[in-house]
């Protein structure tokens, strides 16, 4: 518990004492450092801001040369185009968003249901070659997706899972289980095993002790883990593009990427679709910001 992951993200607790560096620094240096940070932040955020701007510009302003930064007409047409087809009904893009919700949602639930009990068992019991098993589990997640997708593609074609939501759900579950186990093992390790021992002295079985006492304490961790799994599935592209072929199954990432396939690209629409797609991710990752370090390293780094 030496490092506080929260401290890395939340502004709070460092206020008390700061390293005494008054002598060596001075005011001028602080100003320079703040300026450098501000410039870097601007560079990092500019692409995002530019995309937001593009999504609310009229088409002729989108392609204006030189680029218009401030004096453009604001329109929400592109956002309408994401969901409403020119004839009226919903667009194929909106259908792909729905597919993404289903695939990411179901695979996250499955990964949680499979991963949390496994994480608990790995944390509590002595398992033969535990370390090797855990490392094997994590290493499956490191496999290059392009390589894995070749045999998966053949396998799915054989058993009729190609171009089905179930096929995507299964591969995403397999892709999120290693993460869930690693991430949750960290959370389970933090709950003292003595709680369960005490409950068992009172006559509960091990399973009841887990269900009634440990699981409720794990809920915040489960929520954070599930949010990360949701983000991973939501953002996933390689499996989505190679294991689907019809619009009825296709998830949002390949559908959005498909928008730039033609000879002319409607960048306003691409920008709007990207923002609709990215917004939930940003909101969710803000919610789990305290666990980001563990989350983005697949649960491997946490102290």
């Amino acid at each position: 518990m030496a490092v506080s992951v929260d401290e890395a993200v939340s502004p709070g607790p460092v206020r008390d004492r700061r390293p005494p560096r008054r002598r060596s620094g001075g005011r001028g240096r602080v100003v320079i450092e703040v300026a450098v940070l501000a410039v870097l932040a601007a560079v990092m955020l500019f692409p995002v801001l530019w995309m937001i701007e593009t999504s609310i510009k009229e088409n002729r302003d989108v392609y204006a040369i030189p680029a218009k930064f401030f004096d453009f007409t604001v329109t929400l047409d592109h956002f309408k185009d994401v969901f409403v087809a020119s004839g009226g009904g919903p667009t194929t893009l909106s259908g792909s968003f729905l597919n993404s919700v289903i695939v990411a949602g179901v695979s996250t639930v499955l990964a949680t249901v499979l991963g949390v009990p496994a994480a608990w068992a790995y944390s509590r019991f002595s398992v033969k070659a535990k370390k090797d098993q855990l490392f094997f589990i994590l290493s499956t997640r490191f496999m290059p997706p392009v390589v894995v997708v070749i045999p998966i593609f053949l396998m799915y074609r054989q058993v009729g899972l190609f171009d089905t939501k179930l096929g995507l759900i299964l591969i995403y579950t397999a892709f999120n289980v290693p993460f869930t186990i690693w991430m949750m093992k960290g959370f389970v390790d933090e709950v003292p095993a003595e709680y369960e021992d005490a409950a068992m002295l009172d006559g509960y079985t091990r399973l009841q002790a887990f269900w009634k006492f440990t699981l409720p304490l794990l809920l915040p961790g489960i929520a954070a883990t599930a949010v990360f799994a949701l983000i991973f599935s939501w953002n996933e592209f390689v499996f989505a593009i190679f294991l689907t072929s019809s619009d009825a199954v296709r998830t949002a990432p390949p559908a959005i990427a498909g928008l730039i396939g033609g000879t002319t690209v409607d960048w306003g629409l691409v920008a709007a679709a990207s923002i609709v797609f990215a917004l939930p991710v940003l909101i969710f990752s803000y919610l789990v910001r305290k666990h980001l370090v563990a989350g983005v390293t697949l649960g491997a780094v946490r102290r």
């Binding site: 070749i150 009172d202 102290r303």
Partner: protein
């Protein structure tokens, strides 16, 4: 977690009625529980990760093609020797190496610098960190599209800005030598926050008393950085670097969206080449052998990663 007593308190009343189970059967039930809880997850991984890889291993020894169908004939190590001796593959390996080393180095230097600057701030740290983290959470598809638009030679905003300060236009994605640089820049944009986040976690964990002791000894700032900060943050940073190296090595989506490997083959990484062999050439056997070789490299990198992870955990 606040008050463990209250947790054990409440079952006591009901517990008196149910006698505790004898120890032996409890041990047995623990074993049973372990198996019941772990095996579903492991079975899924075996079916969806291990079995496909074994199948790919089998295919790599054959001349199977996904479109031609028909039975595969064994060609043993032909696929492997063909790949290892192919000048084309060597070129892709070199491109991948340039890309991985270039991107990861840039990210590490930038990410660590930003983290160091942020860690010296007291106010606004949370806001700054949150803002810096945005690129990392975006899908590579979205990132690729953002940048493809911005780097467009005609109406891209980057060229427009270059023009307004009097510099010439650059064909970022359509010229051989700039395309790879663009790829590296975009990857750096997306993943610098990753290194920053982990470096920041390391930097904020350095105990303050070390700095205090050093400043009593009138140690220079550089001396403090070199002897206190760096050694303490280094192990964590190394893990972040290895993690990024693995991710960069297997990168596919960004290349696919940004350049599709072009112009020519200048941005074709190994991942992208495997895709072309498998899904455009339909040489499934060759592609499988290619993939297996890539998996071997990933396994070596992952082993390194895990070794350092273990070291970090033991400290």
């Amino acid at each position: 977690m606040s008050d463990p007593v209250s947790l054990t308190d409440h079952p006591v009343q009901e517990a008196s009625s149910t006698p505790p189970a004898p120890g032996r059967s409890r041990h047995l039930s623990d074993r049973w529980l372990t198996v019941a809880f772990i095996s579903p997850a492991l079975l899924l991984l075996l079916a969806m990760s291990v079995f496909p890889l074994l199948w790919a291993l089998y295919l790599s020894f054959t001349d199977y093609s996904a479109t031609r169908g028909g039975p595969a004939t064994f060609v043993w190590f032909e696929n492997f020797t063909a790949i290892l001796t192919s000048a084309q593959v060597h070129l892709r390996a070199f491109t991948t190496l340039l890309y991985v080393v270039g991107a990861v180095t840039l990210q590490t230097v930038l990410g660590f610098s930003i983290a160091y600057l942020i860690s010296r701030r007291v106010r606004g740290r949370g806001v700054l960190t949150t803002l810096f983290l945005v690129p990392m959470m975006l899908s590579p598809v979205v990132v690729g599209l953002f940048w493809r638009f911005m780097l467009d030679a005609q109406f891209g905003v980057i060229n427009s800005m270059l023009g307004s300060i009097g510099l010439g236009q650059v064909e970022w994605l359509t010229k051989q030598n700039t395309a790879l640089i663009s790829l590296i820049v975009v990857d750096t944009w997306q993943w610098t926050p990753f290194i920053m986040l982990i470096a920041l976690a390391g930097l904020t964990a350095v105990p303050k008393y070390l700095y205090e002791a050093a400043s009593i000894d009138r140690a220079s700032e550089w001396f403090r950085f070199r002897t206190i900060t760096l050694p303490l943050v280094w192990p964590l940073l190394l893990i972040a670097v290895l993690f990024r190296a693995i991710e960069a090595f297997r990168l596919f989506d960004l290349v696919y969206i940004l350049t599709s490997g072009g112009p020519g083959v200048s941005t074709e990484t190994l991942s992208f080449h495997v895709y072309k062999v498998a899904f455009l050439g339909f040489n499934t056997g060759t592609a499988s052998a290619y993939g297996i070789l890539m998996v071997l490299i990933v396994i070596v990198l992952a082993q390194l990663y895990m070794r350092y992870l273990n070291k970090l955990k033991e400290d």
